[in-house]
């Protein structure tokens, strides 16, 4: 594994600010009073069991869902209060890597990557678009897949292309939803390295949603542990797991057994 570079985190600038965030689906309360600050240049890992509301959290940040109550501020803007146009403008600064990659399976890789670019930067020439695609594919190490269809790629390659598609707009914030889910350990390490490279090269601030401890350890500058809709602990990896709380120790031990 490539050692993570020491990131430049600007703790004076908060890019994402969540306050007293609550979200329910019918009778099921998923998030109950979440508070979180993400600083510029920081990778924050949200750890938690499947179904604990981790993905809901980042969907609230990007405006795909609306909170029941509480505040979601991104670059100082209250996301739920934004109109469609303002939300679209804000989303240009946010990259979202989906758990299942969400590549458009009717388009080849080149068209997948060109899609957000053509729609958001309408004044770009064909040559500039091709150059941007080439660069971003180089960055994720998949230049040879340019004319392939998503169905022809492996799970790890799809994840990389999914990340490349978000990077093409040069976002300031990256949201990763389970980036290593369903991947073998070696491919997971490649994805972890890619997340760190993206942070270093594109100077992004990120939220990484995962239940994979190796991913959390290798990519996170700070970890927060989501249990029963609330953040139980936060800090560096060792700090978070240095506790007698059975809910956190149990999560750690379970992953430890799986890894070994």
């Amino acid at each position: 594994m490539i050692k993570k570079e020491t990131p430049h985190i600007d703790r004076t600038e908060t890019v994402i600010e969540l306050r007293h965030l609550r979200k329910s689906f019918g009778a099921l309360t998923v998030l109950q009073g979440i508070d979180l600050d993400v600083f510029r240049g920081e990778n924050v890992v949200v750890l938690g069991r499947s179904g604990s509301g981790k993905s809901v959290l980042i969907k609230l940040i990007v405006g795909l869902l609306k909170p029941d109550s509480g505040s979601v501020r991104v670059f100082g803007e209250e996301v739920p209060a934004l109109d469609t146009r303002a939300l679209q403008t804000l989303r240009k600064k946010i990259g979202f890597s989906f758990q299942g990659s969400a590549l458009y399976d009717g388009m080849c890789i080149k068209d997948n990557l060109a899609f957000p670019l053509v729609r958001n930067k309408r004044n770009l020439s064909r040559k500039q678009i091709d150059q941007a695609i080439e660069k971003v594919l180089d960055d994720v190490g998949l230049a040879h897949t340019v004319y392939q269809m998503p169905a022809e790629l492996s799970g790890g390659q799809k994840k990389r292309i999914g990340i490349a598609r978000t990077l093409i707009l040069e976002p300031e914030i990256m949201l990763y939803d389970e980036p290593t889910a369903g991947l073998d350990p070696l491919t997971s390490i490649e994805i972890n390295n890619l997340i760190n490279e993206v942070q270093a090269r594109y100077k992004t601030s990120s939220i990484i949603i995962t239940h994979d401890l190796s991913c959390a350890k290798s990519t996170g500058d700070r970890l927060v542990m989501l249990v029963d809709g609330q953040f139980l602990r936060q800090g560096k990896f060792e700090e978070v797991f240095d506790t007698a709380d059975i809910r956190i120790r149990g999560f750690y031990n379970y992953n430890f057994i799986l890894d070994n």
Binding site: L64, R91, D105
Partner: protein
């Protein structure tokens, strides 16, 4: 907002009593009404997705062309053969071209074309959008600052609305060719004489009403496929259900519309 997880009250979501079912029906109607209003709003507001609409129109036309050609030809031949036996009893086989043209242009071509497009294109739209929904591709489009409703829904509905009238005209022409072939072989009628007779009883009002009917059918197929696909749930099972439901709902609505439109258009004819 694309996700719309709150659109159906959870209490009604899983219930199976009559009350729940009625509740769900009205919620769906209300949701469909909102979907339709959103379509008209998005269709007329910039930016326009002309390129995607053209691509979709090409797709709709191309997908249905071969089956419409085959069906149209067979309908023309079979309808002529069936009509001849009845007309022979009155010694009126010379009326065949007019009778066939009226039946094909006013009723058969729009209806058969619409049903074929519902089966071929409606199911495709339902499955494609359903698949995009369950694999988060629609969400991916939304977070990359693209309006997925405009790009996926508006373009497809526009394409079916535009293409069904063209396909209907094409089918009517192919059916008439099939009918001509049969008439020519049996009554030795020439090509110009057949078409002259065929179009004697067809006037501008007929053409306009065919276009209106076809456009309504096309809109229905697009709207049903898009609405059902865009709101697909339950993973891959939901995709199959969307494809199936799109066809069933489209066909059902087309038959109802046929009954209503024929009343309205026949009433309108007396003022023309």
């Amino acid at each position: 907002m694309n996700g719309d997880p709150e659109k159906i009250e959870p209490e009604l979501n899983g219930g199976n009593t009559v009350k729940d079912k009625i509740g769900r029906f009205f919620i769906t109607l209300y949701d469909l009404h909102r979907f339709m209003l959103r379509f008209f709003r998005e269709a007329f507001l910039p930016p326009y997705e002309f390129r995607e609409t053209i691509r979709q129109s090409f797709d709709v036309g191309l997908k249905s062309l071969s089956i419409i050609t085959l069906t149209g030809f067979i309908v023309g031949v079979v309808f002529t053969k069936q009509s001849r036996t009845s007309l022979l009893e009155f010694g009126a086989t010379s009326w065949l071209p007019s009778l066939i043209a009226i039946a094909l242009m006013r009723a058969l071509a729009p209806l058969v074309t619409a049903l074929i497009v519902a089966g071929k294109v409606g199911s495709h739209i339902g499955a494609e959008l359903g698949s995009m929904k369950v694999t988060e591709q629609i969400d991916a489009m939304e977070v990359s600052s693209t309006n997925p409703f405009k790009f996926l829904v508006v373009t497809r509905i526009e394409a079916t609305t535009l293409m069904v009238p063209i396909l209907v005209i094409y089918m009517a022409f192919i059916s008439l060719l099939g009918a001509y072939l049969d008439v020519h072989l049996n009554e030795a009628t020439s090509f110009p004489a057949f078409f002259q007779q065929a179009f004697m009883k067809i006037n501008l009002y007929d053409i306009v009403s065919i276009m209106i009917k076809s456009a309504v059918y096309g809109f229905t197929v697009g709207m049903a496929g898009c609405y059902i696909g865009y709101n697909a749930q339950q993973g891959t099972v939901g995709v199959g259900k969307s494809a199936n439901k799109s066809v069933v709902v489209s066909m059902f609505l087309i038959f109802i519309e046929e009954m209503l439109l024929i009343q309205v258009l026949n009433y309108g004819k007396q003022f023309f």
